[in-house]
């Protein structure tokens, strides 16, 4: 039975007019604004924003030292490079153990690990700061207990990590692993449910080790699911704002800033002194970087439906 869409515009017109005003028009306008500076349209903003060398605002540092600040754009990239692989490997291993080793209360475990995804990211930012606090946090305490600060020659490891440029960014990245892991495990577990048990039984009969089963049997079958988690993790990492803003504010000395935070800083400056061009430029740069994973995601979703 076909329905005539022209007689049923009520299904589309209200929604799309709403979206046109509040989402589509702002996207186009931000793009235009990113080229504007004092009523002239050039690509100057892009040049200025990308060559900025003040650590609090810079996107790419000119001289990349051994420890941050490296610039917000590079911080985002480092974030993805550490976070995405660690998340995927950890979730694969944990989901595998939970499913195939008869773990008691497995759904309760999954529910507990998911807690981080439910709470406001601002609060997550506070909690991450709490974990790395010298007086009350668990991580510096463990470091001290194992004397890792002395063994590794990094005394800051047993202090409040977020007070040190060398550790602030990494404490946030580790915190984001804590926060996001439950989501990734949930999706990967759901994917594992769809793998026929017989595939694993056969591998066992041939005497394959658990590691071989995980990486040679399960991972190949999970490829689409892993790719989805990978893309969603990257998108999440690139758009991070709240947890950074709440825990370090990008500091100390710009050593943990991210793109979304720089956009906000330019915005605040502009709301006082005018000239939103630079803020818009950073927003567009952020979007362009997300575009690659986003387009893969859109393409795959369209193909599926």
């Amino acid at each position: 039975m076909k329905s005539d869409v022209r007689k049923n515009l009520i299904f589309f017109i209200p929604t799309f007019s709403f979206l046109a005003l509040f989402v589509i028009y702002p996207i186009i306008y931000t793009f235009i604004l990113s080229f504007e500076s004092e009523n002239v349209y050039t690509s100057n903003n892009y040049y200025k924003v990308l060559s900025e060398s003040n650590p609090l605002l810079m996107l790419i540092a000119k001289n990349i030292g051994p420890s941050p600040p490296w610039g917000a754009l590079l911080h985002n990239i480092v974030w993805v490079l550490i976070h995405a692989p660690v998340t995927i490997i950890l979730s694969l291993v944990i989901a595998y153990i939970i499913k195939y080793y008869n773990i008691k209360g497995s759904s309760l475990i999954k529910a507990l690990l998911f807690l981080g995804m439910v709470i406001p990211p601002v609060i997550a930012g506070f909690i991450i700061r709490f974990m790395f606090d010298e007086n009350i946090g668990i991580i510096p305490k463990i470091m001290k207990l194992l004397s890792l600060d002395i063994i590794l020659g990094i005394p800051e490891l047993s202090k409040t990590w977020m007070n040190y440029p060398s550790l602030a960014l990494f404490s946030l990245i580790l915190g984001s692993i804590w926060l996001w892991l439950g989501f990734s495990i949930t999706i990967i577990s759901a994917g594992m449910e769809a793998i026929p048990k017989s595939h694993i039984e056969i591998a066992k009969v041939f005497g394959a080790s658990p590691f071989k089963i995980l990486f040679k049997v399960i991972v190949p079958e999970l490829k689409p699911v892993i790719l989805t988690v990978f893309i969603l993790t990257i998108l999440w990492d690139l758009k991070l704002f709240d947890i950074v803003y709440a825990s370090t504010g990008g500091g100390p000395g710009g050593s943990s800033t991210v793109l979304a935070l720089i956009m906000y800083q330019y915005f605040i400056h502009a709301s006082r002194y005018g000239g939103y061009g630079m803020s818009a430029t950073v927003a567009v740069i952020l979007t362009l970087i997300t575009l690659f994973p986003a387009l893969i995601y859109i393409y795959r979703s369209l193909k599926r439906s």
Binding site: I136, L286, L302
Partner: protein, 288 residues
């Protein structure tokens, strides 16, 4: 053979302990925050938070809820208003449009749906500047205040939530057998009737899951709140808790209490409706 069985057993016991230990370690920050919120801070520093709390004190909670400096009670109320409006409007519009995407065929369908998916991946940062300017212009021209207004920010959340809700409902509706709608069509029912009388009632579990997730999202948001809420009496809870954390000094007692208050509602929703929540998340893709 006996040895092999025993070995398997020991592996299982070991892995049970390992995974449970991991899970407890994973949620230990939550326990830490809770203990810090009910214990005197001096004691937490001296003896740590991992102990049986004999002298529980609610003074941190009373301070953050009632002290006009923090006033989380007001933030809570504002968040309830914004999250409720920001859920009802997009739920209705998205369900309507998702029906359209599921049951109608037309030339621009793929393009329009691609546009929806694109909006779902875009960062909030890309839209706030023009919206800020737009709200200022509306106030100048029509005298309607939308910046620093709960209605104003609720509308933004509504628009922002629509795209993922359309995606979510389209997936949900496509699981409903086409024979049901076809039968109604034969009886001469219009699409609006079918939507309200047949599809929505069938989709109630989906409506619940979608509402819960959207509500939690709006509740959890900080970015819009930072940009569009200016005077403290309009602050939502996520904006309000930021005031507890000072610039240089952190009073962990107060901040922990504030954090517990701000995250309780999402946590309760999650615990009560766990199945809906997980189903929604697995089926959703992601926004935000």
């Amino acid at each position: 053979m006996k040895i092999a069985i025993q070995r398997i057993k020991w592996t299982n016991i070991f892995l049970n302990i390992l995974i449970w230990g991991f899970a407890v370690l994973w949620i230990s920050p939550f326990i830490g925050i809770f203990m810090t919120s009910v214990l005197p801070y001096r004691e937490v520093i001296l003896y740590g938070w991992l102990r049986i709390p004999f002298d529980i004190s609610l003074s941190n909670y009373i301070t953050v809820l009632t002290d006009p400096l923090y006033d989380l009670a007001k933030g809570y109320k504002n968040s309830l208003i914004v999250a409720s409006i920001g859920t009802i409007i997009p739920m209705f519009l998205a369900a309507l449009t998702a029906y359209g995407f599921t049951y109608f065929n037309f030339t621009l369908k793929t393009l329009l749906f691609g546009l929806i998916l694109f909006m779902l991946t875009v960062p909030q940062q890309l839209v706030v500047i023009p919206l800020f300017k737009l709200y200022i212009d509306i106030e100048k021209t029509f005298g309607i205040q939308l910046i620093d207004s709960l209605i104003g920010i609720s509308l933004l959340h509504s628009a922002w939530g629509i795209s993922w809700l359309i995606f979510f409902f389209k997936n949900y509706f496509s699981l409903i057998p086409k024979s049901i709608t076809d039968a109604a069509k034969v009886d001469g029912a219009s699409d609006l009737t079918i939507f309200f009388r047949i599809i929505l009632p069938i989709a109630i579990p989906g409506v619940i899951a979608g509402s819960l997730i959207q509500f939690t999202w709006v509740w959890n948001d900080l970015f819009y709140a930072l940009i569009f809420l200016i005077s403290p009496d309009k602050y939502v809870i996520t904006r309000e808790v930021l005031n507890i954390k000072g610039q240089y000094h952190v009073d962990w007692g107060l901040l922990s209490a504030g954090s517990i208050i701000a995250m309780t509602l999402p946590l309760v929703i999650y615990i009560l409706f766990n199945k809906y929540f997980i189903k929604g998340v697995v089926g959703w893709g992601v926004k935000a």
